[in-house]
Amino acid sequence: GESVGLHLPTLSVQEGDNSIINCAYSNSASDYFIWYKQESGKGPQFIIDIRSNMDKRQGQRVTVLLNKTVKHLSLQIAATQPGDSAVYFCAENRWGSQGNLIFGKGTKLSVKP
């Protein structure tokens, strides 16, 4: 069925290191993907998105990579900071649909000072 999952439920990194959070999706019809950051007690916050006609997109300190062949998505955070500590979700949708998102379970990122 349709699902978005994550390889690693928790990730602990040292401040200043780069972080990589992975996500696998199973619906080959999905063509739009978003990464969200959720801090404790808050709603998800948009980080970066990518359409399936791209394989890489960069933002400020973040890069999303999409491998459609193996249905894999990753979020790279450069020079990870304590403020990056949160749960990260990937979400998928089909371009042209109404926009309701299918979320994965999430990866908790913990940044050690």
Partner: protein, 115 residues
């Protein structure tokens, strides 16, 4: 400007009670979504409004769940005869448009605990 707000932030209900959760979207936003987030899980879609029209309610888990947005602005999610499995955080999101790719802005959620 103000983001999406939700009230109450926390709600404790005894099993069998009815609850009403409110969402105030960003002013002018056309689309409004409700999601349910169980502990340790990602949000799951419940229902979607475009202005006052409820275009998709396929995610509502049972007929005890009802949502409305009568004037195309504020929305209320009502749960009748609450059950323990209804305990979750209920998130509301709004979006300026109705197309995929229009960013969804999430509120802080209402944490519902059914005892």
């Amino acid at each position: 400007g103000a983001g999406v707000s939700q009230s109450p932030r926390y709600k404790v209900a005894k099993r069998g009670q009815d609850v009403a959760l409110r969402c105030d979207p960003i002013s002018g936003h056309v689309s409004l979504f409700w999601y349910q987030q169980a502990l340790g899980q990602g949000p799951e879609f419940l229902t979607y409004f475009q202005n006052e029209a409820q275009l998709d309610k396929s995610g509502l888990p049972s007929d005890r769940f009802f949502a409305e947005r009568p004037e195309g602005s504020v929305s209320t999610l009502k749960i009748q005869r609450t059950q323990q499995e209804d305990s979750a955080v209920y998130l509301c999101a709004s979006s300026p448009g109705w197309r995929t790719g229009d960013e969804q802005y999430f509120g802080p959620g209402t944490r519902l605990t059914v005892t």
